[in-house]
Subunit: 155 residues, 2 copies
DNA sequence: GTTCCTGCAAATCCTTTGCAAGTTC
DNA sequence: GAACTTGCAAAGGATTTGCAGGAAC
């Protein structure tokens, strides 16, 4: 079984741990590896389940704690959705926002320099110093829209 | 003590209750009245405290339940902030989004038809049918920025 | 009278924390 | 060995729910 990990991110994590007098552990390595492989918008539960396929002994608490470290190290970013939190890779990724399908749960990313610029303008008008933002658009994705209007689905 | 309430919203609420075979109650009236008077972005706790000044016997559970009704009736809208939920008046108000000061907690509203239009365009590109969105911008408001750079605050 | 409300306490859900045992440096 | 980690169980915080008594229709 192939066990490659994004070397660069693993190095970043190790450097982060070293710099903060923290220690490596099999658990942390397994969680980071699983997180990087999946490359999706994972909930804590998603990640826990994926990790436990390999290491059933790793507990939910460690997932929470490791995700905090990954965020601090700049490797993961929290996506605070409606009810739940999800996490996505953040290393060397450009800023983006999300479309979320209310039917199938799919998440699509988008970037819009124009929207960012408009935000900056409005903020400048009221003297507000932007530190971050959350911009989530809810609705139905193409395939869910198509599905719900299929002849056999009508009625 | 003046006890006027926005008549129109009160009527809307009564109509909503009647249509759904629900009942009026002193508690619901007091909560709606308090909610309308404050005209801010209230947390459940804020509202509970304001309501209890007049009616100390009203419990938190009733606040939660009444807020749900107000939302269903189109009178209140939930603002899902980072950790907590806040509620604002929604009746005959145009859509807007928010700036939130991380220092003092102040919330500023803004509207941008241009941003809305850009959202629609991007959504159309990927065949996404928008139903709603959440757009919150975090940072520091003018007075908090000023305060933190005042000479006496330096160091 | 029947149906709906209310407040309390208990239950949930998600996340964090205390602690004793195990690991890493 | 000292300092950090882990998993469990317990604690927290926010919101919901079951229920018995009370109010509205």
């Amino acid at each position: 079984m192939k066990n490659s990990v994004r070397r660069e991110e693993k190095d970043v994590f190790d450097a982060y741990l070293a710099k903060n007098h923290l220690k490596r552990s099999d658990q942390r390595e397994a969680i980071l590896d699983t997180f990087l492989r999946s490359d999706r918008h994972l909930s804590v539960d998603d990640l826990l389940q994926l990790v436990q396929r390999r290491r059933p002994d790793i507990g939910r608490t460690t997932i929470y704690r490791t995700l905090k470290l990954l965020q601090a190290a700049g490797l993961a970013q929290e996506l605070a959705l409606d009810g739940e939190s999800r996490f996505e890779r953040d290393y060397k990724r450009e800023h983006h926002d999300h479309f979320i399908c209310k039917s199938c749960g799919a998440i699509f990313e988008f970037t819009s320099p124009e929207i960012e610029r408009l935000q900056d303008e409005i903020a400048a008008d009221i003297g507000f110093a932007i530190e971050g933002h959350r911009h989530q658009i809810y609705g139905f994705c193409r395939s869910c829209t198509a599905r719900s209007s299929r002849p056999e689905a009508r009625r």
